[in-house]
């Protein structure tokens, strides 16, 4: 898969994770690089891009004993954008899937 293609989907994944709860950068990086084959470092540029587009905000919180951590949180705009893009992606993926399945039926 090309990196350009992955990047767009990764943005959606980040928004999805942040919809459940606020996370710090490392958590997101760990989770995504554990599930999808990407370099762990690429999550940080995505977070920054989403923040500059106004989809995310950050706040700093000190956890017990640890250093202060920067948490990412969805804005209202981010939530709306996520719902819209999610619907778009699912519809798109469904079409692609049915198309690819037709192809495999032909061969059998």
């Amino acid at each position: 898969m090309t990196t350009q293609y992955k990047k767009g989907v990764l943005e959606l994944c980040v928004l999805s994770l942040l919809k459940k709860r606020d996370c710090y950068g490392y958590e997101l990086s760990e989770y995504l690089s554990g599930h999808i084959d990407i370099a762990a470092g690429t999550v940080y540029p995505i977070l920054r891009k989403l923040k500059s587009e106004g989809l995310l905000t950050t706040y700093v919180q000190e956890d017990s004993g640890g250093p202060p951590r920067k948490y990412y949180s969805l804005t209202n705009f981010g939530r709306e954008t996520y719902e819209k893009q999610r619907a778009e992606y699912l519809a798109f993926a469904q079409k692609v899937e049915s198309l690819l399945e037709e192809d495999s039926n032909d061969k059998e």
Partner: protein, 237 residues
């Protein structure tokens, strides 16, 4: 690559690309190292998993900024080229018009000679037999010029299309879109049309040459003078 090497490379490239809040970005990666090292990973392992710091740093560039400067340069440069290209195309179109008018007026003169009319006494006097030969000659010349005009029109059209594609591609490349393949500047007429045009051009050239020489020789014989135009008073003396 150790932690320090990774961070040094990252901050170097971030600085070179003048990305704002570089410290914040570096801090994020330092924390990543700290978390991973607490889990017992080696610095090399972590750096390898993070990816190439040069590639990562460039991913922090915003899309608009990446191409902004280049786009302005491209637009200004194209503006200048457009002015010169525009003047060039005007010249080419003027030449096309000259060829078309030449072809048409030659055809009209040929017709007048053939019919035997002499509107406004513009045509030089000559016996009708000679007029027919010269009419044939001029008709052939008109056809030859028409073929030339058709070829040249196809050439201008293709050149304009090619330039248009270049124009579009330059702008596309400057704003990061993929360019289309460039177009050749010479026209590619269909083989049949090409052969037909060439045949017509050759026949009309041969006919023009033959009838022109024939007309001149006959004129000399009939008028009894090598300078038959003087004998018939073409130029008033």
């Amino acid at each position: 690559m150790t932690r320090n090497e990774f961070i040094a490379k990252l901050s170097e490239v971030l600085k070179k690309l003048s990305i704002p809040d570089a410290e914040e970005i570096i801090n994020e990666y330092e924390q990543h190292f700290a978390f991973k090292m607490a889990d017992g990973y080696s610095e090399e392992e972590i750096a390898a998993k993070l990816g190439d710091p040069v590639a990562l740093a460039s991913q922090f560039q915003s899309e608009g900024k990446k191409h902004g400067g280049r786009k302005i340069t491209a637009v200004i440069g194209l503006g200048f080229i457009d002015i010169f290209a525009g003047m060039f195309f005007v010249l080419l179109l003027a030449w096309e018009a000259v060829m078309a008018v030449f072809s048409l007026s030659t055809a009209v003169v040929a017709l007048c000679l053939l019919v035997g009319t002499n509107p406004g006494s513009l045509l030089p006097p000559m016996p009708y037999g000679i007029a027919i030969v010269f009419a044939l000659s001029l008709a052939a010349l008109a056809v030859l010029a028409a073929v030339g005009a058709i070829y040249f029109a196809a050439f201008i059209r293709q050149l304009m299309r090619s330039y248009g594609r270049f124009h579009k591609n330059t702008l596309d490349a400057a704003s990061g879109r993929a360019p289309l393949p460039s177009l050749p500047i010479y026209p590619r007429l269909p083989g049949k049309a090409n052969r037909a045009l060439r045949f017509v051009a050759l026949v009309s050239l041969a006919l023009f040459t033959a009838t022109f020489v024939l007309g001149a020789v006959l004129s000399m014989l009939i008028s009894g003078s090598l300078e038959f135009w003087h004998a018939w008073g073409w130029f008033g003396y």
